[in-house]
Amino acid sequence: MQFEYSIEAGNFTKAGDASSSFKKILKQLNVDPQIIKRIVVSLYEGEVNIVAHANGGKVICEVDPSRVYIQLIDKGPGIPDIPKAMQAGYSTASAKVREMGFGAGMGLQNIKNNADELIINSEVGVGTKLEIIVNLPHS
C-alpha cells in the first residue's frame, strides 16, 4: 500500500497534516501503537523540515507486512554538510522558525532515535531525500 502527500513550503498551519493522515491509516491497519508512535515522530520531523527549509516537496509512505518505508523528497536547497546537520543542536532555521519553538537542531536526531534506518541523500541546489524505515514485527 502506498500513500502520497504533498508538502507546502513555509506553510506551518499545515505542518503535521501528512503525519496525522498517515497515523490514522496505521491505526486502521492495527499497527502496534508503540511502533505507530515511532513512525509518527519520524514522519512529523521530516515533514516540518520540508516546510521550514525546502521549496516544498512530497512524502511517499509505503506499508507492507514487514516494514513501513517513508520517502521525504524535497526541492532544494539541499544540505551541504550532512554529518554537521546530524549533530544535535545544529540548525540553520530562521529566527521566525525558532521563535515558534522549531529549529532547535533536534529533528534529525528524533528521526534517528525512532527509525530503524535513516538514509539521507542531498544535493545542494537540487534537493534532499530522506528514507526512513521502521520494521514491523511478525505477528
Binding site: F12, T13, A15, G16, D17, S19, S20, K23, K37, V40, V41, Y44, E45, V48, M100, G101, F102, A104, M106, G107, Q109, N110, N113, N114
Partner: protein, 111 residues
C-alpha cells in the same frame, strides 16, 4: 486523575477543547521546544508551554497528550483554538509562570 480535576486546584482558565476534559493525566512535560516535546513527551502528559500557535495542537494530537496549559496569561492563537476544538484537546491557561505551574502539577500528581 482527569484534566477536569486539575482546573480549579491549579486555578486554570479553559480556553476551549472541552471534549478533552475527561482525558486521563499520566504526568506533565514542560518545554517550549517543539521537537523536544515530539521526541520525549509520552502520551497522557499535560504540556506546559508559552507557545500559542496551531502546531502545538498538531503535536499534542500526534503524541496523544492529555492537555495543554499556556503560562503567564498567554492566550491561544485563533487557529490553535480551532484546531483544539477539532482534535478535542483542552487548552488551559494560567497566570503563573512555568516553574510555578509545573511545581503545582507535580505535587498534585505525586502526592
Amino acid at each position: 486523575m482527569q484534566v477536569k480535576d486539575i482546573i480549579s486546584i491549579l486555578d486554570l482558565k479553559i480556553f476551549g477543547g472541552n471534549q478533552g476534559l475527561e482525558r486521563e493525566i499520566s504526568g506533565g512535560y514542560t518545554s517550549d521546544l517543539l521537537s523536544d516535546v515530539m521526541g520525549h513527551a509520552d502520551s497522557g502528559k499535560v504540556w506546559i508551554t508559552l507557545q500559542t500557535h496551531k502546531n502545538v495542537i498538531a503535536i499534542a494530537s500526534l503524541k496523544e497528550l492529555a492537555a495543554v496549559i499556556l503560562i503567564k496569561g498567554l492566550e491561544p492563537d485563533a487557529d490553535m483554538l480551532a484546531q483544539a476544538e477539532e482534535e478535542g484537546i483542552a487548552v488551559l491557561g494560567s497566570n503563573e509562570q512555568a516553574f510555578e505551574v509545573t511545581g503545582k502539577l507535580f505535587n498534585l500528581l505525586t502526592r
